[in-house]
């Protein structure tokens, strides 16, 4: 017989003694958790504040009011239906003449050049579009708001904020702007160009439409390829494949692929799709193929997890009723696993939307002004556009970069929210 160690009285004392220590460590652990969340939230807040404070300015841009004359002799166009005349026409002369009339006492070549620099060098083409939309304007005068040059825009915004940045302007230009401001002939307007135009070397004319369309076509192709392939692979591996060395080998490799740095997929795409299959460079087709390779492992892994979470009793019930394996999968497993699969697909798509590294390798980093209209038009994507703008020297691109980041982030937030919403919606808790 051994001496009794644990009598009820003994035990109670020991338990009471340990209680304080246990409660303290739990308390401490909770505070660690709260601290971790706090740090995370602070980081996100700093990031968002920085981006928004830098980027919000890009949604408004300076316009100046000028009285223009669509003078046939000045432009060199008398027939608006003649394409050759339209191409050869001296459109920029119209805003230049308007500026000369606004500031009649400016003389000298250098001063005139500075004066002409007040407006965007694309403003002549804006006026041309305006004229083509309303041909009756030819030969008449009208007062219009004309897009200002990016340096003027930067200065005017900083001047309105009370911290004028005039490093790139001459004293005369500053003087002219202040005159225009006093007359109410310069103002900030909503910058629709940002959403309707493609990239440009001139910040005031640059927009994200091209990059958004590029992203859209690329992601569309990625989704069309990776979702069916990924789901089919997941279903086969989970439900039909024999459990042997081969399937283990495949599973390990899929998990490894999910961890491969994305730029490797870019190199793979370059070697296979472009150099071997001769798919053209810089197009959404090759971008979509590369991103498909990249998102496939994610989709396969999440889909398999979703299939695994379908209770085995449902499978047994279906098989017991005499359903074939295919019917069991199609009628019972797939509907129950679909919300999980869709969530995985959307998260994979969000990942693909934010990816730039692999696309650099396949030439989607090119400077492309035209807005892509299909899968085979040269294009760039949003994150690469951000990269390009962040790399540009013009000061006005700083706010544009942040604005593009805001657009990208809002797309990502919308996608992730819709993933949560879809899952809630489709998860039919019977």
């Amino acid at each position: 017989m051994t001496k009794p160690v644990n009598t009820p009285v003994n035990n109670l004392e020991k338990i009471r003694k340990s209680l304080g220590r246990r409660n303290r460590s739990e308390h401490l652990f909770r505070w660690y958790g709260r601290l971790a969340i706090l740090i995370g939230l602070a980081a996100v807040t700093v990031l968002f504040t920085d981006i928004v404070s830098k980027g919000h300015g890009a949604f408004r841009i300076s316009y100046m009011q000028l009285e223009v004359e669509y003078d046939q002799d000045l432009i060199g166009v008398d027939n608006l239906t003649d394409p050759e005349q339209l191409i050869l026409g001296n459109w920029q002369a119209v805003p230049k003449q308007a500026l000369r009339q606004q500031f009649p006492d400016v003389s000298g070549r250098s001063d005139k050049r500075k004066l002409y620099g007040l407006v965007s060098n694309g403003s002549g083409f804006d006026l041309k579009d305006r004229l083509l939309a309303n041909p009756l304007l030819l030969g008449t005068r009208e007062t219009v708001w004309i897009l200002a040059d990016d340096d003027i825009d930067t200065y005017y915004k900083s001047w309105l904020d009370g911290e004028p940045y005039a490093a790139r302007l001459s004293d005369k230009q500053v003087q002219w702007i202040s005159e225009l401001h006093d007359q109410g002939k310069i103002r900030l307007q909503f910058n629709s160009n940002l959403f309707t135009r493609g990239d440009s070397r001139e910040p005031e004319q640059a927009g994200i439409r091209g990059a958004v369309m590029g992203s859209l076509f690329t992601l569309l192709l990625t989704l069309m390829l990776s979702f069916p392939i990924g789901v089919a692979a997941a279903i086969y591996l989970e439900e039909f494949a024999p459990k042997n060395g081969w399937t283990d080998f495949i599973e390990v490799n899929i998990n490894n692929l999910a961890a491969v740095p994305s730029i490797i997929f870019g190199l793979l795409g370059l070697a296979i799709f472009i150099n071997f299959f001769h798919v053209p460079r810089s197009v959404p087709i090759v971008g979509g193929l590369v991103l498909t390779l990249m998102t496939l492992p994610t989709i396969i892994i999440t889909s398999r997890a979703a299939i695994k979470s379908v209770p085995p009793s449902i499978r047994e019930a279906a098989l017991g009723m005499g359903a074939s394996k295919y019917q069991m999968v199609l009628h019972h497993v797939l509907p129950l696993a679909l919300p999980g699969m869709l969530t995985g697909a959307i998260i994979g798509m969000a990942q693909a939307l934010g990816e730039s590294a692999p696309l650099l390798m396949i030439g989607m980093v090119a400077f492309i002004v035209d807005i892509p209209g299909g899968f085979s038009d040269p294009a760039t994507v949003l994150p690469v556009q951000i990269f390009l703008w962040a790399d540009s020297p013009e000061r006005a691109f700083i706010e544009k970069t942040s604005a593009a980041i805001m657009v990208l982030l809002s797309f990502l937030i919308v996608m992730n929210t819709s993933a949560v919403w879809l899952r809630k919606r489709l998860e039919r808790r019977w």
């Binding site: 009793s313 019930a317 017991g320 009723m321 005499g322 039919r428 019977w430």
Partner: protein, 284 residues
């Protein structure tokens, strides 16, 4: 040390006698004149581990045969090899001959889809599909193409639910979820689903183990009614249940079929000492 607990002592004593010989022969009346299913020398393996040893028995037409025995004795494994549900377990291998109406169920050309339409199954835990009550019952007839028109299908659903004595309770909410029913109703729904394809044999794997006594009583009543039209093999943990619902009882022990006899005889004067030990509660 304390004195040995008399009950524990008795159990320990029996345990020494629980080893069964390899050449154990089933005692009692295994075979019938008009068998629906015949099993001869059935062995079931999970990888190298043998779960069922050399079982031979008949199941007569329209009888209810209960399979009882301690946990892990292989009664569920045996039941699941009767409609080849064991096929889904990759490591499982069945040897011997299992025939229904003289046709070998493990013949290579036999299609399990057809087999499972003829041999229905009700599982331990009620497992209705996460669909409406109607769709649950209509699923079998739909996939097997048993109903030509919507009207036929409605009729099959109503008839099956009536046979499962569930119709009165659910006729107002046929299009509501099947998983919203109570446990006992769910199990009756599963029975209705199984009989909707008019199987010849129904296998029940501890159908009442997840149910309360009142729900259990309803299912037992139902089994009795169903035995007029179907052949039923039921695995149960409850000896009382076996005594109440079955015509014959088969006692399994460590993967061997020890005794098969009319239920009344098994529970009043069992032939084998192991059966007696089990039904008198000396182990299990």
């Amino acid at each position: 040390m304390n004195a040995i607990d008399p009950v524990m002592g008795a159990k320990a004593e029996v345990k020494q006698n629980l080893e069964v010989a390899d050449n154990q022969v089933t005692v009692g009346s295994c075979f019938t004149d008009a068998p629906k299913m015949t099993m001869r020398n059935v062995n079931v393996f999970y990888d190298d581990k043998q779960a069922i040893h050399n079982v031979s028995v008949d199941i007569a037409k329209n009888e209810v045969i209960a399979m009882i025995g301690p946990s892990g004795c292989g009664k569920s494994t045996f039941l699941r090899s009767l409609n080849r549900m064991n096929d889904t377990v990759e490591s499982c291998r069945v040897e011997g001959e299992i025939c229904m109406d003289g046709e070998n169920l493990y013949a290579p050309k036999l299609d399990v889809v057809e087999l499972r339409a003829r041999v229905g199954m009700v599982f331990q835990k009620p497992n209705p599909f996460p669909k409406s009550i109607y769709d649950n019952v209509a699923y079998g007839p739909k996939i097997h193409g048993l109903a030509d028109t919507r009207v036929d299908l409605d009729e099959i659903v109503e008839d099956s639910l009536r046979k499962a004595s569930l119709w009165e309770e659910v006729k107002e909410r046929l299009h509501q979820s099947g998983t919203g029913l109570s446990g006992g109703q769910q199990q009756r729904l599963c029975i209705a689903r199984a009989i909707a394809v008019s199987p010849e044999v129904i296998l029940m794997d501890e159908p009442c183990s997840a149910l309360d006594p009142i729900a259990t009583a309803k299912i037992e009543e139902l089994i009795e009614e169903l035995s007029q039209n179907f052949t039923i093999a039921i695995v149960t943990h409850s000896m009382q249940q076996a005594a109440r619902v079955s015509h014959r009882t088969a006692y399994f022990h460590l993967g061997r079929l020890i005794e098969v006899n009319p239920t009344e005889q098994v529970f009043t004067m069992p032939e084998h000492e192991l059966t007696e030990a089990y039904i008198t509660g000396r182990f299990g």
